[in-house]
Symmetry: C2
């Protein structure tokens, strides 16, 4: 699908509020997904919602979500002939927005919500590529610099695939939007920027002395 064709709007990707913050732009959605590696995966178990944090990767128009073969969503997806209905949400907080009024306080953020169906990846080649992608999503360049999963490890790991078909982004940027009547109030107003901080890599206790820190770690943004 060309990147300049937006995702189609559906009833559940059209927000009931703050519609000016919503977008179906494919490039924006990809950018938001590519900046993260942790999603919140929602599914329904015995009629009730469950939301679990887990790792993911985007490969083209597909999300891969990491699981264990014993985990609840993996068992549910494997047991459902049509796959498991899921909602995958990725959120980046960019700032705390402080207005003069409590009401106009807000958060600058970028989020993507994916509605879809999760299916276990059973093809060995696709699964290996998905596991590489999940490692590289968190640490770009790492998949090529570690021992790949052997057959037993691969069998103990489950990967769910969710096609990106029903997707939307939501973003808020900029400063506070105070009411004109509040502008004379004495309270400080503005934005506190928020981001991710990466610390200096800490070698494992059993790492051989002198093992160099790889470039893909030292070159990391925010490090």
């Amino acid at each position: 699908m060309p990147a300049d064709i937006p995702y189609p709007r559906t009833a559940r990707t059209t927000p009931t509020r703050a519609p000016q913050r919503a977008s179906w732009d494919r490039e924006l959605v990809h950018r938001i997904l590519d900046e993260g590696y942790l999603c919140h995966l929602g599914f329904v178990r015995e009629g009730a919602p469950v939301v679990l944090p887990t790792l993911y990767a985007r490969v083209g128009e597909r999300l891969y979500v990491h699981g264990s073969t014993g985990s609840a969503p993996v068992r549910a997806a494997g047991g459902a002939a049509d796959g498991l209905p899921v909602c995958v949400t990725v959120t980046h907080v960019d700032g705390l927005v402080l207005a003069r009024s409590a009401f106009h306080h807000s958060v600058n953020y970028r989020s993507v919500v994916v509605h879809g169906t999760a299916r276990p990846v059973t093809d060995a080649g696709e699964k290996a590529a998905a596991l590489d992608a999940i490692v590289d999503q968190a640490v770009p360049g790492r998949a090529a610099d570690c021992r790949p999963a052997d057959r037993k490890e691969s069998a103990a790991t489950a990967v769910l695939a969710i096609d990106l078909t029903e997707v939307s982004a939501k973003t808020r940027t900029g400063g506070p939007n105070d009411d004109a009547a509040d502008l004379e109030l004495p309270h400080w107003s503005g934005v506190v920027p928020v981001g991710v901080r990466y610390g200096a890599p800490e070698p494992a206790a059993d790492l051989a002395a002198g093992t160099p820190v790889p470039d893909y770690l030292t070159a990391r943004p925010g490090a």
Copy 2:
């Protein structure tokens, strides 16, 4: 409820995998919740899961979740006599764990999963206190330093309350757990610490020159 009495274990707060990472410790749960302000709220709409990022606050054994009166979960909670079944999840990422093998790659994290029922807060006093708590959860000290919501603003804001009764935490800490057979591999292994970075407060374009930055912003951890 005394802080040294753990949350009761239930079928859905007992994990099917990595049980050593699970905890029902009340103080740990509170600490994880108190460190954040953004949750992922899951609910079921027309049989399918929905996961939305939103702001929350903890007050004792209750969570308050912020919404707009027009938002989907708020309308669903208000329309359901017994409240809306929800799952609220809060996750902090503390580190990327790089092992010699792809299989043992992991993430250090602390998360809390709350299963419960969301009910709209209708009492004016409780609602005002909950809105203050939501502002203070993100920026401790701010609620006392802004104009409180007036009647119209309060009516346009919805707050959902969820009692903390069915709750668990999950944490991973420490370095990689490589297999003995992999220890001689040449790959760097260890942990890349991850945290939240707060930037210098950026005043609003319409803020009067000379307005001091409040202490509760400059004293912030990570700032």
